[in-house]
């Protein structure tokens, strides 16, 4: 990704506050993002919300990179009504990591984190109700992880509950 450095007042403020925890501040295709250390995410979201008016958590999602040491990337997309500006906060976590929940900062994160747990199996620490959102409770595995192919995704559940062969 040919990202260019992102500069501006906001970046300076954030860097002053968080120092080395901000690993990167770049922009790609005119979209600005921070790459931060996982432990700094929640305090950064809080800082952005209180000091820089980023009061709307647009989306929270993840991506899986099985070949990397830190297998998951977490993305927080934020928007500020006052500044009409959109930024992303990105962090990498290990497979076994339990990042802290963002529910305390943005209520939207409740279902979004449940969805990430449902699809990727990332447990959020401190979340009030860490259960599956879309898939059935007794589903095995996490579909959006990369190693699962479409065909062998929980065949057992489909056969037991629907009595049909899964797949094409």
């Amino acid at each position: 990704m040919a990202a260019t450095p992102w500069e501006g007042e906001l970046v300076n403020d954030v860097k002053r506050q968080f120092g080395a925890q901000i690993l990167e501040a770049s922009s790609y295709l005119d979209q600005n993002f921070f790459v931060v250390a996982p432990e700094a995410v929640i305090s950064l979201l809080e800082f952005l919300r209180l000091e820089a008016d980023f009061d709307y958590l647009v989306d929270l999602t993840a991506a899986h990179y099985p070949d990397r040491e830190n297998q998951f990337d977490l993305f927080y997309i934020l928007y500020s009504f006052a500044r009409n500006e959109r930024i992303r906060v990105k962090t990498s976590i290990a497979e076994t990591a339990t990042p802290s929940t963002a529910v305390g900062v943005h209520l939207t994160a409740d279902w979004l984190e449940r969805e990430v747990f449902d699809m990727f199996g990332i447990r959020f620490d401190g979340h009030p109700n860490m259960t599956r959102l879309l898939l059935p409770e007794d589903w095995q595995g996490y579909p959006l992880r990369k190693q699962k192919t479409l065909i062998d995704m929980d065949n057992r559940w489909v056969q037991e509950n629907l009595g049909i062969e899964s797949g094409q």
């Binding site: 790609y28 709307y56 999602t61 993305f75 959109r86 939207t108 959102l133 879309l134 959006l144």
Partner: protein, 370 residues
């Protein structure tokens, strides 16, 4: 505290759905009641989950386009527009002007269709059956235009990455102009039926209040946010597809209740007609497809692009690894995120209002569950 016996138990758990007709699909809401009063809810969703995001990882960019129509099937064209814009962003191309204008025309028609469908079903939930027949009749006119343009009525697959697949058919301008002339008196007619109707007003005024601050906390967008007094519309805030060229207003209301959401949507339809009138006047000549090549292969990178769908902010976040298939594609569905505020809206209200509030959120379960 003594063991609660049957007689002093005050909490009643009521299961609503998933086959309840007023949940607009397969939404299951578990209501905790104290008499008539709702003291808590829990939504059970996922009955319509088809794994759209997983499908995307196994299809090429071109092949995935028809699937997005199946999320919010009431506004399939908006879904398609958002997806095409997101891939175009990654490819660093822009659709030619002619394609952009046609896109605006079809999306605005779709917005009217979606609001009409919402109005009909919402009124039906509240007990007014007649508007449903009228609104579906008018929606039919829109679907006819879609059918003439791209050959399908609901899941249209009208746009392609980089522009349009189909050249405009003869008479599109005429059809759209006729439709604009036709729909305005019809909207007046609905207002005549409902706006001052005392049953309608009594059922909706002050029900399901969600203030602007709460909207922002829950990430609720679209007409619900605008009815809370926030003048925010992505078409104005971050224009895409040439929306900056059109002259239109973003209607707002201040009551933040169900009635005001109705008012906002009615006004929005009139604004759509305004945009449509301007757009059909000047469809520029020129190509309809930008040069994107046969194989779509964006450079590695990520982009988030969102549009103002009829239900709120619809976003696509795509991570590309430089191959022909998206590495990760995330849809930010407005329905799912708006539905999350249901709990806040119904708490403390009456059980009979739950139906009105689900209706006013304008959710489509295909999009909630994906």
């Amino acid at each position: 505290m003594p063991e609660p016996t049957f007689l002093d138990s005050t909490e009643l758990v009521l299961n609503m759905g998933p086959q309840h007709p007023s949940t607009h699909g397969v939404l299951r809401v578990i209501l905790k009641l104290d008499g008539e009063k709702v003291i808590g809810t829990e939504c059970v969703i996922g009955y319509l989950h088809r794994g759209v995001e997983k499908i995307a990882e196994n299809r090429t960019y071109t092949m995935f386009a028809p699937y997005v129509d199946r999320m919010d099937y009431i506004a399939a064209i908006s879904n398609g527009l958002g997806y095409c814009l997101a891939v175009e962003k990654l490819l660093k191309v822009e659709a030619p002007p002619r394609a952009q204008v046609v896109r605006v025309i079809l999306t605005e028609l779709n917005r009217i269709a979606s609001h009409l469908f919402w109005l009909g079903t919402h009124a039906l939930d509240i007990g007014a059956i007649t508007p449903l027949f009228y609104t579906l009749r008018e929606r039919e006119e829109i679907l006819k235009i879609f059918e003439d343009y791209c050959g399908a009525r609901l899941t249209t697959h009208a746009f392609r990455i980089g522009g349009l697949q189909y050249e405009v058919h003869d008479g599109l301008e005429r059809q759209v102009k006729d439709f604009c002339d036709y729909i305005v008196p019809k909207i007046d007619e609905y207002e005549e039926l409902l706006t001052n109707n005392r049953i309608w007003v009594e059922r909706l005024k002050g029900v399901g209040i969600l203030t602007a601050d709460e909207c922002k906390q829950f990430g609720v967008t679209g007409p619900v946010l605008r009815a809370a007094g926030v003048q925010w519309d992505l078409r104005k805030a971050q224009p895409y597809s040439g929306y900056e060229k059109y002259d239109f207003d973003v209607p707002i209301a201040h009551g933040a209740d169900t009635y005001d959401r109705y008012v906002v949507r009615m006004l929005e339809m009139r604004q759509c007609v305004r945009i449509l009138r301007q757009a059909v006047e000047g469809i520029p000549e020129g190509p309809i497809l930008a040069k994107v090549g046969k194989v779509i292969k964006p450079a590695a990178g990520e982009a988030y692009v969102s549009i103002e769908a009829p239900k709120g902010e619809l976003g696509y976040f795509i991570v590309s690894d430089g191959s022909t298939q998206p590495y990760r594609l995330r849809v930010r569905p407005p329905s799912l995120i708006n539905l999350q505020a249901l709990d806040r809206m119904v708490r403390g209200g009456l059980v009979a209002d739950v139906v009105a509030i689900i209706g006013t959120l304008d959710i489509v379960l295909g999009e909630v569950d994906r």
